[in-house]
Amino acid sequence: MLGYLVEKEFKQIFRDKLLPKVILLFPFMTLILLPYAANFEVKNMRLAIVDQDNSSYSKELVGKLIANNSINLVANEHTYNAALGLIQNDKVDMVINIPKNFEKDFVVDKKSDILIAVNSVNGTKGTMGGMYALSIIRQYQDEKTTEITGVNDPPGVEIKTIYQFNRELDYKFFMVPALMVMVLTIVSGFLPAFNIVGEKEKGNMEQINVSPVTKPIFILSKLIPYWVIGMVIMTIGFIVARLFYGIVPQGSILTIYLFSFVFTLAVSGMGLILSNYANTYQQVVFMMFFFIMILILMSGLYTPFNSMPPWAQKIGAFSPLTYFIDVMRNVYLKGSKLTDLLPQLYKLLAFVLVINSWAVLSYRKKN
């Protein structure tokens, strides 16, 4: 019985005008575009300089500022107010005002001022940009001091930093494995839910309900195809990560497959639960959207899980995504072994159990 039903699902999926394309293209698009977009690094601070001193010192300092990769000089203004206008127009993000007598004050009075104004509506960007400028200015101050006094910095330590697992600190290495989780969630969570609601809307569901097909069999027949599709999507993900980014898992790919499978069981079950409560597409779309958004935002995909306040971490702990994202990053970057990841595995298995029992119970053949 199950065989016939699964066969039917596969035929319907492949015959659909849209689904096969979505299943193939969605992972590609996400993995190729998102890592470039979903990035908190600030790479382009547009700067306007108001150099009222026009001295060799001020010019040198401007040169140092521009030399920074993340700062982009886009305008030179004569007055501070004119430069502020540029901020209001969103033409620049930061204005640095070098006052008259900047050089003279520094050399003679050993003390001079400088004004940095940043548009901080976007707080992260504002702080980061401000920090870049501050550290360049401080460095410049130290250099000049050494130059004038001829005394080297006091004795100190040399701090060597090693960034393990991601030596270049490439943000893509961090995002790509986790984005695979997002793709998998959307495809194997959303699609079976739509599928079931679609059958409800068309009336096919009633025909199945009066047949001897039992709840678990029916649900299994809906899920199995998406489990298979989930594995296909992960495989596409591995290939894209490899070919496009040169990212290869440090750990075992089998570990990833194992976790992907367990995870798919959990999210497809979530889709089912929602489809059992929803009667129309619109409903199921909104419910899925609502929950998946919360799950994704609270799972540490974009922002560190530890940064969330305790109450949010507690909610996040109820998201299977949290654990799978952690696992993907660990296996991909650190080469963690299955034995390192047992706690995550147990938690995911618990999700699978609870979610799928709920799905079976909430699927009503009767009223």
């Binding site: 019985m1 016939y4 039903l5 015959r15 009336g203 096919n204 025909q207 009066v210 047949s211 009767k366």
Partner: protein, 246 residues
């Protein structure tokens, strides 16, 4: 003759609303049983209960010898069902639909292939074997849906307004199929809006406001109400209904 459907004091309430009010009747093996009633009279609710889709509030019933409360899964293996909403898969081909439903009812692979060809020939659908159901005209779809509903040789087949929206020629053909089915000993439980169709039934019941107001052969019914059209009788009874369309 044995009774295939036995209904005793069946009642269904939705909150304070009594959709089906203490009805009792029997249907014999191989009988064509017409189940008439205005919209909202409670027909569909009765069918849903008999198919095990809905739990009765009171009373009981057996279908094919199985209790509708406790043995609904067994009932499902022994009935066929076709609803007013067309319920084959539009995105599957004709033979694929047949294969799917036959498979669901546990038929063997060999038998399915063989019987599929026979069925398609009977219906004159040989050329449409590979056609997507969505591409068939409505009348064909209905005939196919009916054939699929009885493909596994159920004891009873429930037809919920099977001929809605099709032209008179197809309706005739459809009733021929129903007769053939009844000759094979399959009980046909059919609801309809067309009163001329009621004349084709062995017995008809007329439901008003959740109660069965009449249950006779078409002939006896006409004598009893001294009228020569079931249409009139239906109108007389239904006029007293307090409920309107749902």
């Amino acid at each position: 003759m044995e009774n295939v459907i036995v209904v005793n004091n069946l009642t269904k309430k939705f909150g304070h609303f009594t959709a089906v009010d203490n009805i009792s009747f029997e249907v014999k093996k191989g009988e064509i049983f017409g189940f008439l009633g205005a919209n909202g009279a409670g027909k569909t609710t009765v069918i849903r209960m008999l198919c095990g889709l809905s739990r009765p509030s009171a009373g009981n019933a057996t279908v094919a010898g199985f209790d509708i409360r406790h043995q609904s899964e067994k009932i499902k293996a022994n009935i066929g069902y076709m609803s007013q909403k067309f319920s084959l898969y539009e995105d599957l081909k004709v033979w694929e639909n047949i294969k799917l439903f036959a498979g669901i009812y546990g038929m063997k692979k060999k038998d399915i292939a063989l019987k599929t060809d026979i069925l398609l020939e009977e219906l004159g659908f040989q050329d449409e074997k590979q056609t997507l159901v969505s591409a068939l005209p409505l009348g064909w779809k209905q005939k196919l849906a009916f054939s699929v509903a009885i493909f596994h040789n159920p004891k009873v087949v429930f037809l919920d307004e099977p001929t809605g929206g099709v032209d008179p020629v197809v309706r005739r053909q459809f009733w021929e199929l129903i007769y053939k089915t009844a000759e094979k000993g399959i009980t046909v439980f059919v609801t309809t809006h067309y009163m001329d169709e009621a004349e084709y039934c062995d017995r008809v019941s007329i439901m008003v406001d959740g109660r069965i107001e009449a249950l006779e052969t078409p002939k006896a019914l006409k004598e009893k109400f001294a009228s020569n059209s079931i249409d009139d009788i239906f109108y007389q009874l239904a006029r007293n209904a307090k409920r309107t369309d749902d």
